[in-house]
């Protein structure tokens, strides 16, 4: 049976190595231009009091966007589908927590040596930390202004800047602007 399992692992390795095709250069797929589904206007507003970047979308722009998206076929990856299903993610986390907890109890009950008890304690600790991380969502980080602080310099240099963004739906404004991007900027 050991030989069988060894060969299974070898076959699995070979199978996973196959798609790489190191000896054959695959033709590069021509990059597809993204399809424009909606044209609107954008106003960028620096705000010294803001904590996080915000993208404000008016009700009418949102409805136009929805109508445009309705004609676009969905193409969710597995990671996206998991991220978009909070129920499934929560249940997966719950079962993982239960699994680690039961494994810890089983290890603690079935083994006697100190080293193995340490393993059991570690498993229990991992389970508790995992559960705490699920509850806290582990999303604490520096304020949004930290990521946007180099935006003016980057704009003049022509380099991109990345940062967090909250999307808000706001009532239609009178000035006719479709969307408003509020960037948190702290004076130097």
């Amino acid at each position: 049976m050991k030989q069988f399992f060894s060969l299974c692992i070898l076959a699995l390795l070979l199978a996973t190595a196959l798609p790489t095709y190191g000896d054959i250069a695959r033709p590069k797929p021509s990059p597809e231009r993204p399809k424009i589904v909606l044209h609107t206007s954008l106003t960028i507003v620096p705000d010294s009091k803001a904590y996080e970047g915000r993208l404000q979308i008016s009700q009418s722009s949102l409805q136009e966007l929805r109508a445009a998206l309705a004609n676009t076929p969905p193409n969710e990856s597995m990671a996206q589908s998991i991220a978009h299903s909070s129920t499934r993610t929560m249940l997966a986390g719950l079962f993982m927590f239960l699994s680690l907890s039961f494994a810890g109890v089983w290890l603690a009950r079935s083994v006697q040596t100190r080293g193995q008890k340490m393993v059991a304690a570690l498993l229990m600790g991992t389970a508790v930390i995992g559960a705490a991380a699920i509850i806290a969502r582990a999303n604490a980080g520096p304020p949004g202004s930290y990521y946007w602080r180099k935006l003016p310099q980057n704009l003049s240099k022509g380099t991109p800047t990345s940062g967090g963004l909250d999307i808000e739906i706001v009532p239609d404004s009178n000035d006719g602007s479709g969307m408003k991007l509020i960037i948190p900027m702290r004076p130097e």
């Binding site: 998991i82 499934r88 993982m96």
Partner: protein
């Protein structure tokens, strides 16, 4: 039943000398047949995967289920005794999970739930299946004095977690893993009835990953199979073509058909043949040349080969009815395939979940 198998084995060991030469020859024949069948199955499945899939399911799906039913009846004890909880859990699980699984396509057809809810429903069924399996392993472990099988609970819960992340892939894994379970049955059966062949069999098993790797290697660059008609589309979907779009459907269908052919081969040829070979020496030793009655013991339709029917406190009528009803179902299945192959195939693979589930407790009882 375990006692019955042991009696046969003991008879083998009592007088091994006269049979040594023939046994050695049989072992060689067994290995040659095993390797030839595996290679031929891989070749056919790679060459014409869709056509072979249609033909094998038509010919062997029903009969292999009948043979499984007969095998399970043979393994079933007359009285549950200490295994009462185990068997009650097993039968309750088989009944409930099979009914729930068969209800899913009906509910889908009536659009009871929105499309977005289906992965959650699928994951719920998979979770129930895993918890049922975990309970069975735990209950079986309680019957073992020297072994602690409590690890089954955390393992089942861990698999539940993975299942909730990707329920569709988990269901696909069952499609591919189920045929391999037959090889495990054969392993356990050989260990009880033909231990001398076990080592050779396990060496032959090493060929399986190599054959699979060879098939994947050869077929990865082939274009996907044409699924422009309803039947071929069903076959490619069953093999996971939609879930794994970056892998050629030729590879997926070929691998699935290959494993299915091995599965049918084990249930239809290997297990009945070994059971027959295991009985012959007992008759020879006891009565000299085989008498007509002894020869009949090897016949698959003879009720006396089923302990549940043979035992004075057994249920011969119930066993006979079950087997006769099984034959009727096989005939209905063939008629159905002849009239509307695609629909019958869909119905069969839905209802066949019962035999997939039934394999679990009987395999566990052999461990």
């Amino acid at each position: 039943m375990e006692r019955t198998a042991n009696i046969d084995l003991a008879a083998w060991r009592l007088n091994p000398a006269p049979l040594a030469a023939s046994r050695h020859l049989s072992k060689r024949v067994f290995v040659c047949v095993l390797i030839s069948c595996a290679c031929l199955s891989a070749l056919l499945a790679s060459w014409l995967p869709l056509q072979i899939s249609v033909v094998t399911v038509f010919l062997f799906a029903g009969p292999h289920n009948w043979f499984e039913l007969r095998y399970f009846l043979i393994r079933l004890p007359v009285r549950f005794g200490k295994s009462r909880n185990f068997f009650l859990t097993a039968f309750a699980g088989i009944g409930f999970l099979s009914l729930a699984y068969c209800a899913l396509p009906v509910l889908y057809a009536f659009s009871v739930w929105p499309d977005k809810a289906w992965p959650t429903i699928l994951a719920s069924w998979n979770t129930l299946l895993l918890l049922w399996l975990g309970s069975l392993v735990w209950l079986r472990g309680r019957q073992k004095l020297r072994r602690d099988w409590s690890w089954a609970i955390p393992v089942a819960l861990g698999l539940c977690s993975l299942n909730w992340l990707a329920p569709e892939f988990f269901s696909l894994a069952i499609v591919y893993l189920h045929p391999v379970v037959a090889l495990w049955f054969l392993d356990r059966h050989l260990r009880r009835t033909r231990p001398a062949w076990l080592r050779a069999y396990r060496r032959c098993l090493c060929l399986l990953p190599l054959l699979l790797a060879g098939m994947v290697w050869q077929l990865t660059r082939t274009p996907s199979l044409p699924d422009d008609n309803g039947l071929f589309w069903r076959i490619t979907q069953h093999a996971g073509a939609q879930l794994l779009p970056n892998i050629s459907s030729h590879v997926l269908v070929a691998v699935h058909v290959f494993l299915e052919m091995l599965h049918y081969g084990v249930w239809l040829v290997a297990l009945p043949l070994i059971a027959r070979l295991a009985r012959q020496p007992v008759a020879k030793r006891a009565t000299g040349p085989l008498r007509p009655a002894a020869r009949e013991r090897g016949r698959i339709w003879d009720l006396k080969t089923v302990p549940l029917a043979r035992h004075p406190r057994g249920f011969p009528k119930l066993v006979a009815t079950a087997l006769a009803f099984g034959v009727l179902l096989v005939a209905i299945l063939w008629v159905g395939f002849s009239v509307d192959y695609a629909t019958t195939r869909d119905v069969y693979f839905t209802v066949a979940i019962a035999h997939v589930l039934a394999e679990a407790p009987f395999l566990l009882k052999m461990l």
